[in-house]
């Protein structure tokens, strides 16, 4: 499926790495904006009143575990272990979905407490930054779900290792971004 290349790296894999470079600038700009506006909200509710660190720690743990499952999924596909590939390709997006559910619960709680999108600078920067990340997770869930459905219908074999590998690259990148967001939003208040 992949043609020989000058560097030996499959085209799709190199494209994913370049795309991740671009994504670094996207999240970099959003994170810079969040940090610049940190502590400059003129109206409440303020972040320290709302952020629920224990709850988000749990969803963060879930997201990090999904990365582990992604590694296991790739390894299963590489080995040609179709049974375990199905299991891990199901579990990875499932854990992503659990994370998204946690984000939905957090967002609705904030809105319920009066922190709408246009309430203050914290709400604007927080919702757009974490929302962009959430959209990336959702895209990854859709992608991994597609790979899982291919696995279920027997259309995913060790020949498709690169397809799973680049999905994994994306998924790990999105997780790494969350580690940064978790640190700057929740831990370094």
């Amino acid at each position: 499926m992949d043609i020989p290349t000058a560097t030996g790296i499959p085209n799709r894999k190199l494209a994913m790495w370049t795309f991740i470079g671009s994504e670094c600038m996207l999240f970099g700009s959003l994170i810079a904006t969040y940090l610049i506006y940190k502590g400059r909200s003129l109206a409440g509710p303020y972040p320290e009143e709302l952020l629920n660190i224990p709850f988000i720690t749990v969803t963060t743990f879930v997201l990090l575990m999904s990365s582990l499952m992604m590694v296991l999924a790739l390894s299963a596909v590489q080995r040609g272990d179709r049974r375990m590939a199905k299991v891990w390709l199901f579990m990875t997006p499932l854990f992503g979905l659990i994370f998204l559910t946690g984000q939905y619960i957090e967002f609705s709680h904030f809105v319920h407490e009066g922190l709408g999108l246009s309430r203050n600078l914290f709400s604007s920067t927080f919702f757009v930054l974490t929302g962009t990340h959430g959209a990336h997770v959702a895209g990854g869930v859709l992608w991994l779900g597609t790979l899982w459905s291919l696995a279920m219908t027997g259309r995913l074999s060790e020949k498709n290792t690169v397809s799973v590998e680049i999905a994994g690259l994306y998924w790990h990148f999105v997780d790494v971004v969350w580690i940064v967001l978790f640190t700057i939003i929740y831990l370094l208040q």
Binding site: I3, R12, S22, V128
Partner: protein, 622 residues
């Protein structure tokens, strides 16, 4: 996701011959579904050229309004729309697509590849660009075009001061177009890194390919900050976020930072490909290898690198403080060094060469001369105290038109005269080409040189008229006369196209006796480009080979075409696909939804997903 297309319709020697006859023929459907980099390049060129004409007409109207003081030819609101659309179109919908047209047509040929790494993604980039441009121009019919200037400063562009939909069109069009542009950057980075033929090492690549690589990296890293800035702007206007709202404690300068972190690299996105073209054209018509090849390459890389550290020189007047201004002023001056190095390398390449002043060469040498003028006025306002006098005056307008016309446009025309015969197989008329060059050169200087003076006298940009008796009348009248010469300069260009179409002589494989791989196959190239994937052993492969294989003094025309006429083995080329078009239409509908309602956006998202899945699961052979 089968984005890497290798396999696909089998073509034997006989079928290949039939295909060869009709590289560009075929009905509308074949153009809508094409994934051939040469055809996509032609689509980019034609579309970009039409946008260039439209933006040119907008510029002419601006000059007509400014021909006399206190003129009431155009009303001020329309004038604001004109200069905004002129700048936005020239940068995003004329300059960049014409550059991407050159990437598409030339790069795979120069590296010995049969297509780009992701042919369908390439088609997708084109359709998204086309739809973004049409969407932007639709604003004229739905409540007025954007009128906040091409850099759309907040708070002027906030909902409070720009209540119409013009700014929404601006932000949405640039967001939509940005998707295609980033896709192009990924595509060309992977193509150049991965699709090189054996022996095409990085330090053997032609300079145009090198600058495409550098420019793609710039696009990849510079567009995301613009995307983020535009999303903030759109959300502020549509959903009430507070990113640029000073009343809520925000800093409207955030937009300027995000915009210019993109905007300054954008300047190099527009100029480095032109430098690359000139670095290929000058050696060809001087019959000498490029002087100091590695230095020219690394100067380009250095310009790109420094380009990310100078954005504040667009913001000297915003009061960021003397230390910030001094640092960014110094960094800006540094860029003059690698740029000057390139200028001297081009001069040294010509030095002692056997020069031939083909129109391509004239435009290339014209770039060397006029870019120096624009470059030097650029160094002048890299100094903050000087900039405070010159910023937002016509002096700056003079500066960036010297670098954008004298640099980007001259470079693109050099490339046009250089590669036209490769794409079409026909030779252009050299005399008409020379007329085109001299008229354009005259128009550029007559239009923009007087603006240095009107600017220093204090005439502000973006103001629809000026009072009598300020000493501005003569300069403005001369500028307007110059602008009209630009129209005359187009006549020989159009005449030349008609000439080439009706009775242009066949070009042959290598009409200029050039040194690089794109001149090894017939013109126009067969759809598979290379019947045999070449093996390259030197930096100027054809010159090295000719030197070995032909006797001294032999006629250029007698030199052999190095590619066989028929491929010895079946060639696998990617099949046409309409999924990129479906996906782009979906994105367009989703974009329109931002102005019409959520339901439309959801339909657009659905169409996009259908396109995406159709694309991903397209069988490799059908």
């Amino acid at each position: 996701m089968a984005t890497s297309e290798a396999a696909l319709g089998r073509v034997g020697p006989a079928a290949a011959e039939a295909e060869h006859e009709g590289t560009y023929s075929g009905g509308l459907w074949s153009w809508l579904t094409t994934v051939d980099h040469k055809r996509i390049g032609i689509l980019y060129f034609v579309t970009g050229f039409l946008f260039l004409l439209v933006a040119g007409i907008e510029g002419e109207l601006i000059r007509l309004q400014l021909a006399r003081p206190e003129s009431r030819l155009l009303d001020p609101e329309f004038y604001n729309q004109l200069f905004t659309m002129h700048g936005t179109t020239m940068v995003f919908f004329a300059g960049m697509p014409l550059i991407v047209a050159a990437f598409n047509i030339v790069v795979p040929l120069q590296i010995g590849a049969r297509d780009v790494a992701f042919p369908r993604l390439n088609a997708f980039s084109y359709w998204v660009f086309l739809f973004a441009g049409l969407f932007l121009y639709a604003s004229f019919f739905f409540g007025g075009a954007p009128d906040g200037g091409w850099f759309a400063y907040t708070p002027l562009t906030s909902k409070q001061y720009s209540p119409g939909t013009g700014i929404d069109f601006y932000a949405l069009a640039l967001l939509l177009g940005g998707i295609g542009t980033i896709a192009s950057a990924v595509n060309f980075l992977v193509t150049i890194i991965n699709m090189r033929a054996p022996g095409v090492r990085l330090m053997r690549m032609p300079l145009f390919t090198w600058m495409t690589l550098v420019t793609s990296a710039l696009i990849l890293l510079a567009f995301p900050p613009l995307t983020v800035g535009l999303v903030f702007m759109l959300f502020d206007r549509m959903f009430g976020t507070l990113f640029y709202n000073a009343a809520a404690g925000a800093d409207p300068l955030l937009w300027q930072h995000l915009f210019w972190v993109f905007g300054h690299p954008e300047v190099y996105i527009l100029i480095l490909p032109a430098f690359g073209i000139v670095s290929d054209v000058i050696p060809t018509f001087s019959k000498k290898p490029l002087f100091g090849y590695p230095v020219v390459v690394f100067s380009g890389v250095l310009i790109a690198f420094l380009g990310f550290g100078v954005w504040v020189h667009h913001m000297f007047a915003t009061g960021l403080g003397p230390i910030v201004n001094a640092v960014f002023g110094g960094a800006t001056m540094l860029i003059a060094i690698p740029t000057g190095v390139k200028i001297f390398n081009w001069i040294a390449t010509m030095w002692g060469g056997s020069l031939r002043f083909h129109p391509a060469m004239l435009f290339a040498v014209g770039l060397v001369a006029t870019f120096v003028v624009g470059g030097i006025s650029g160094v002048m306002h890299s100094s903050p105290p000087a900039d405070l006098q010159q910023t937002d005056t016509y002096f700056v307008v003079a500066h960036f038109h010297y670098v954008l016309i004298g640099g980007t446009v001259f470079g693109l025309f050099a490339g046009f005269y250089y590669w036209f015969s490769k794409v079409t197989g026909r030779l252009l008329h050299e005399g008409l080409g020379k007329w085109h060059f001299w008229l354009t050169f005259l128009a550029l200087n007559v239009t923009f040189f007087p603006m240095h003076f009107s600017g220093l006298l204090g005439q502000p940009r973006r103001t629809f008229t000026y009072a009598e008796g300020l000493g501005l009348e003569t300069y403005n009248l001369i500028s307007t006369i110059g602008a009209l010469i630009f129209i005359i300069a187009f006549v020989p260009l159009v005449a030349n196209l008609v000439y080439a179409w009706r009775r242009g002589h066949p070009a042959g494989a290598n009409p200029w006796d050039a040194a690089t791989l794109e001149w090894t196959m017939s013109s126009p190239p067969p759809h598979y480009n290379f019947a045999v994937i070449p093996e390259v052993e030197a930096r100027d492969p054809l010159w090295v080979r000719y030197e070995r294989e032909t006797s001294p003094g032999e006629e250029v025309g007698a030199r052999p075409m190095l590619q066989p006429e028929h491929p010895p083995a079946p060639v696998h080329m990617p099949s046409p696909s309409f999924w990129p078009l479906v996906m782009s239409v979906g994105l367009l509908i989703a974009t329109i939804g931002f102005l019409t309602g959520l339901a439309v956006s959801l339909i657009g998202a659905a169409v996009t997903l259908i396109g995406l899945f159709g694309w991903a699961f397209e069988p490799p052979e059908h």
